[in-house]
């Protein structure tokens, strides 16, 4: 053993089978080949890809690994990225449920649903109707309740009868835009769901 010099094991990689194919060793492979063929024929072999992405729920921006079916392009799995320095694979309840927002969710909303005050039923509406109605109602409330001064006569220019709860779906830039719009209407009751 004295002549042995320190070498790395890299060279052994690839030699573990001694260069011998299993079939050449006398092992019958017919059943395995037939099984693999059946799996392919039945289209049970699903090709997929994983992409690195970022959770869009909040500005923490946790890392995600999003896998999609290579054929249908549909998302088949979303999980935290274990190598991401912020979340190290973990996700909050909202991030962990992000898969439910994908097109695989049969309950995902695809149309505007409206429930009138005191109604127990949802009605399908168009986007035009929804946006016009929201604008009209906001304007009506603002016209009615906008306060230029408070009880002491101090200038306040505010609207207390409308509140806004922001969505943790919004990113920082969207939050700024919405906040600016709400301030322009005079809203002071502004909160954010991510804080809840």
């Amino acid at each position: 053993m004295s002549k042995i010099t320190r070498r790395e094991f890299m060279a052994a990689t690839g030699m573990l089978a001694g260069g011998l194919a299993l079939s050449s060793l006398g092992v019958p492979l017919g059943a395995v080949q037939a099984y693999a063929g059946e799996l392919s024929k039945a289209e049970r072999v699903k090709m997929a890809q994983t992409f690195i992405s970022t959770c869009d729920f909040c500005s923490v921006s946790c890392g995600l690994l999003i896998s999609s079916d290579a054929k249908t392009k549909k998302v088949i799995n979303i999980e935290g990225d274990p190598e991401h320095p912020i979340n190290e694979g973990a996700l909050c309840a909202k991030g962990a449920s992000i898969f439910q927002e994908s097109t695989n969710n049969p309950d995902r909303l695809k149309k505007v649903l409206y429930r009138a005050p005191y109604s127990t039923k949802w009605e399908t509406k168009t986007w035009d109707w929804a946006l016009d109605t929201i604008a009209k109602r906001i304007k009506a409330v603002r016209d009615k309740d906008f306060m230029t001064t408070n009880a002491k006569g101090q200038v306040v220019n505010r609207l207390e009868s409308i509140a806004h709860i922001g969505s943790s779906k919004m990113d920082n830039e969207e939050c700024w835009l919405v906040s600016a719009m709400l301030r322009s209407l005079g809203l002071v009751n502004i909160d954010h769901q991510a804080r809840v």
């Binding site: 790395e8 990689t13 030699m15 299993l22 395995v32």
Partner: protein
């Protein structure tokens, strides 16, 4: 861990794992039957080995450093509590009958090795050293001197030495730095035989094809070439068997079988885990990929 098992318990554990594997995928029955004896005996030999915990030479030796494997050939083979040539001879004595039973084409090789051992013409430690060091010319010369077919000798000797290498790796693995390593074994430098995802964070771990060391590696990089471009990598799985998968890379053309152990109560019996996925090996090779590391059961096409 198998080190805590008696030889009988280790063999029984392998047997039970192979039974489960065969029940789960009956198409693998013939392959399982071919490997059963070999894997059983390897488990027995490994469980019967002493600690092999002679420390490595002091840090600073050539061969070690950032990004380099911790141990070299000399580190693995320099053991104080085992007569290595004698051990290899005894291990071959137990392995050869199983090779003859499971792999009929190896019968002439097994007979030639027996004759060489009897005649004293097979230098086992030197042959293993040449094999591990990748010194093919020396290996072929030693095989010719012993009158044994070189590829057959490689196969048989590696199978006989594998329990020793794995046991020795267990003794050395405590010196590995914690954390993430690349695609090559941080202990011996070999490529992985399989990957597995485990824990709530979904970390990927790799198992060495040579010394069976386990190490943490990136989920998003190819373990063979280090490619991180996701569009050039992919994976596939069989519908209904989502806990098994094959990751592949179009940059290097290699693939690696893997397990998702999340939600599993216990680890698999590692010695049999790769064998249970040879239908995935076959599918990957039919798609034009080659295995990250060649194993006795994954040279299929």
């Amino acid at each position: 861990m198998s080190a805590a098992l008696t030889p009988d318990q280790a063999a029984s554990q392998v047997d039970q794992a192979l039974d489960r594997l065969q029940t789960r995928t009956p198409a693998l029955a013939q392959v399982v039957s071919a490997f059963r004896g070999l894997l059983r005996v390897q488990a027995e030999i490994k469980a019967g080995l002493p600690a092999l915990d002679r420390p490595l030479p002091a840090p600073g030796d050539a061969g070690r450093g950032p990004g380099r494997p911790l141990a070299g050939v000399a580190d693995f083979l320099a053991v104080e509590d085992l007569d290595l040539p004698q051990h290899l001879s005894q291990a071959l004595g137990r392995i050869l009958p199983e090779l003859e039973r499971g792999f009929p084409a190896l019968a002439p090789v097994a007979e030639a090795i027996r004759s060489a051992l009897t005649a004293g013409t097979l230098a086992l430690a030197a042959t293993l050293d040449a094999l591990l060091g990748g010194d093919r010319a020396r290996l072929e010369a030693l095989a010719a001197q012993a009158g044994v077919d070189a590829p057959g000798l490689e196969f048989a000797l590696l199978q006989a030495a594998k329990p020793f290498l794995e046991r020795r790796a267990q003794a050395l693995a405590g010196r590995l730095a914690k954390g993430e390593h690349g695609g090559n074994c941080p202990l011996c430098g070999s490529l992985p035989e399989l990957s597995y995802i485990q824990g709530t964070a979904g970390q990927r771990w790799l198992r060495c094809s040579l010394c069976a060391t386990h190490w943490r590696s990136s989920r998003t990089a190819c373990p063979v070439c280090g490619n991180e471009e996701q569009a050039k990598m992919g994976f596939f799985f069989v519908e209904g068997q989502e806990n098994q998968r094959v990751d592949h890379c179009s940059v290097c053309g290699k693939y690696l079988v893997g397990l998702d152990l999340r939600g599993q109560d216990q680890d698999p019996v590692w010695a049999t885990a790769g064998l249970g996925m040879i239908h995935l090996d076959l599918l990957a090779q039919q798609k034009g990929f080659s295995p990250a590391a060649a194993l006795p059961w994954n040279r299929l096409v």
